[in-house]
Symmetry: C2
Subunit: 163 residues, 2 copies
């Protein structure tokens, strides 16, 4: 199997874990010399921490693994286009390659609303590829928000409707 497809499949497994925990289903893995050294899913609600995106947790794990705050030569696979926070973290971490599945037209910071991973003023640029397993990643997100709307309008959680 194509390596990229394998790693993105692993990121998708993480996204599915988020889905089962009622978190927005985004998953990420970080690969160094063919080995996954960071893997995580979005945990914003579980940890009640706005910084707990999948990419951030995976970056912290990978840095701990390498005992280095710079992830030289590492590739990050994630199911949705990273936001400004995560894209900024990738530049700080010197991530070499970013592979993401689906665009995020509302907050994506790798081309959609701004481009942080390839900014002419920043001192590190990340190579970006996208579109791999896009449909699977998008469908998971769509299904998640469909389910959330159903739950919120069912009367059980009416107080959350405006949340």
């Amino acid at each position: 199997m194509n390596r990229d497809v394998f790693y993105m499949g692993e990121a998708l497994k993480e996204a599915k874990r988020a889905f089962t925990k009622d978190e927005v289903p985004v998953g990420a893995v970080i690969v160094h010399r063919g080995t996954i050294i960071g893997r995580a899913y979005n945990q914003i609600e579980t940890l009640r921490d706005p910084t707990a995106h999948a990419e951030m947790i995976a970056i912290t794990q990978a840095a701990a693994h390498l005992r280095n705050e710079r992830l030289i030569g590492c590739s990050l696979y994630v199911t949705i286009e990273p936001c400004s926070m995560c894209a900024g973290a990738m530049v700080l971490a010197r991530i070499k390659d970013l592979v993401y599945a689906a665009d995020d037209l509302k907050t994506g910071a790798c081309g959609s609303i701004v481009n942080i991973v390839n900014h002419n003023k920043l001192n590190h640029k990340v190579k970006v590829r996208k579109g791999l397993l896009r449909q699977e990643a998008s469908l998971l997100i769509e299904e998640f928000f469909k389910r959330r709307r159903r739950t919120r309008y069912s009367g059980r959680n009416l107080d959350q409707v405006s949340g």
Copy 2:
């Protein structure tokens, strides 16, 4: 004393702690209803974690304190203009006010190289004020890099010169 000056003074105390630990001296505090609920200094090298900027640690602390991933009504004081990662985290956390001391012309994401905290495509905007205690914050950074260059070129740590 002016409240803003007091809180920025507290952020500066955090930056000085970073300085004594040989970390790039940046400090931050988060204020909610007049109380400091998050305070931190940059710990990138101590934790060997590229995401461990002062603002990020303070945001995680404040969210834990409020038991809420949204820091509604909170003000963040920081000694240097936030980067893309930290500015992105502030938008995700719905920080109300950002007050920062000195511009960061190389990586600042609140107007210097890009503006993430007031982006027309993002669904939250942060009110920004700047310039408070700028000189103190800048001098601390300058002194830090002067010291680092002295140490690195002294022969004691020659292996780090290209680091």
